[in-house]
Subunit: 202 residues, 2 copies
C-alpha cells in the first residue's frame, strides 16, 4: 500500500525517485497513454511489489511525473529569475532558453506543455496540477518584472503581471512551433517580440 512521504527511509526515497525518473522518461519519450506501470517497473529495475508499494496505480505515477517535470523545468531557471529585473538579464535568459533548445535539436518541446496536451482534457486533477506548474513558472517571470516596475525601469502605467503572462505565452507558443519545425527561429522571433514589448514599457 502507498506510504506517506515523511516515513520513507533514505533507501526508500532513492527507490521511489528512481521509479519517478523512469516514468518521466518513458512518458516523455513514448507518451503518457503508451506507458504502462509494467514498462515503468521494468525500466526502473524494481519488483512488482516495490512499485505498488510507492504508487497505487498509473494515475499516482502521472501525478508524480507532473511534479518531477515541473521541478526539472523550473528549478534550473530559479537562479535566473532573480536576474530578470533588467532588459540585459531578460535577454541573457532568452539566449539560455534558445541555446537549450538548440542542444536538444528542438526535440521534445516544453515537458509541462507536452503533459498538458496529453492530460488536460482527460484528467481534471492533472489539469489543475499543470495549471499550478504554469503559475509557478509565471511567478518566476513576474518576480523580475515586478522588480523592474518597483525600481522604475518599467514605467508606472506598465502592468508587470500582464507582461509576465505575455512573455510566458510567447515562450510556450514559440517552443511549440520550434518543436514542430525543428528550428529555433520561431522561438527566437516569439521571445524577441515579447522582450521588445516589455522594453516599450521602459
Amino acid at each position: 500500500m502507498p506510504i506517506k512521504p515523511g516515513t520513507l527511509t533514505a533507501k526508500g526515497r532513492e527507490t521511489k525517485g528512481r521509479i519517478v525518473a523512469a516514468a518521466a522518461r518513458l512518458m516523455f519519450e513514448n507518451g503518457v497513454a503508451d506507458t504502462t506501470v509494467e514498462d515503468v517497473r521494468a525500466a526502473a529495475g524494481v519488483s512488482n511489489s516495490q512499485i505498488y508499494h510507492y504508487f497505487k496505480d498509473k494515475t499516482a505515477l502521472v501525478r508524480a511525473v507532473i511534479e518531477y517535470q515541473s521541478d526539472a523545468v523550473i528549478e534550473p531557471h530559479e537562479e535566473w529569475f532573480a536576474e530578470l529585473d533588467t532588459m540585459a538579464g531578460l535577454r541573457q535568459w532568452r539566449d539560455l532558453v534558445v541555446r537549450k533548445q538548440r542542444e536538444l535539436n528542438c526535440r521534445g518541446g516544453c515537458p509541462i506543455a507536452v503533459l498538458a496536451g496529453q492530460l488536460a482534457e482527460y484528467d481534471e486533477a492533472a489539469r489543475l496540477q499543470l495549471a499550478h506548474s504554469f503559475a509557478r513558472w509565471s511567478q518566476g517571470l513576474r518576480t523580475g518584472l515586478l522588480a523592474m516596475h518597483a525600481n522604475g525601469t518599467l514605467r508606472a502605467e506598465a502592468d508587470p503581471e500582464a507582461l509576465a503572462l505575455a512573455l510566458l505565452a510567447s515562450l510556450q507558443g514559440g517552443l511549440l512551433i520550434t518543436q514542430l519545425n525543428r528550428d529555433t527561429k520561431p522561438l527566437e522571433t516569439a521571445l524577441d517580440a515579447a522582450l521588445a514589448h516589455i522594453e516599450a514599457h521602459t
Copy 2:
C-alpha cells in the same frame, strides 16, 4: 484495400468523411493513443470491411484526422485573413478568437496543437504534416501583415513575417495557458501584447 481519392463515388466520399469525422472527435475527446480503429468503426457506424477499405490502419486515420482538423481550424478564419490588414481588423479577429474560447468554456485548446503534443515526437510524418498546418496558419496571418507593410500602415523597417510568427506564437501559448486555467484572460493578455507589438511598428 485502400482506394485512390479520385475514384470515390458520392456515397463513398460520404462514408469516408463520416469515418474521419468520427476519428477526429474520438481522438480529440479521448486522445490519439486511446482511440482504436474499432472505436472509430463503431462510432462511425460502418463495417470492418468498410473502414479498412478506406484506411489501411490507424496511422492512415491519424493522417486524415490531421488534415481534417487543420481544415476545420483554418477554413473558418480564411475569410478573416483578408481583413487582417488593419489594426481594427486584427482586433476584431482577436475578439473572435477569444469569444470562440469562451463559447467552448476554454476546453480543448487548439486542435492542431493538441495533436502536435501527442504526435510530434512519436510520428515523424505526423510532425511534418502538423508543421505544414502551422505554416498554413502562419501564411494566413502573414497575408494581412504583408498587406499592411505594402500599403505603408507598417513602417518600412518592420518585418511582417516576424510579426506574423510572433502573433501565431502568442495565440498558441495563450490558448494553452487559457486551456489549463479554463479562463480566457491569458489568451487575451497574450494577443493584446502581440497586437501592441504590431501597432508599435505602424
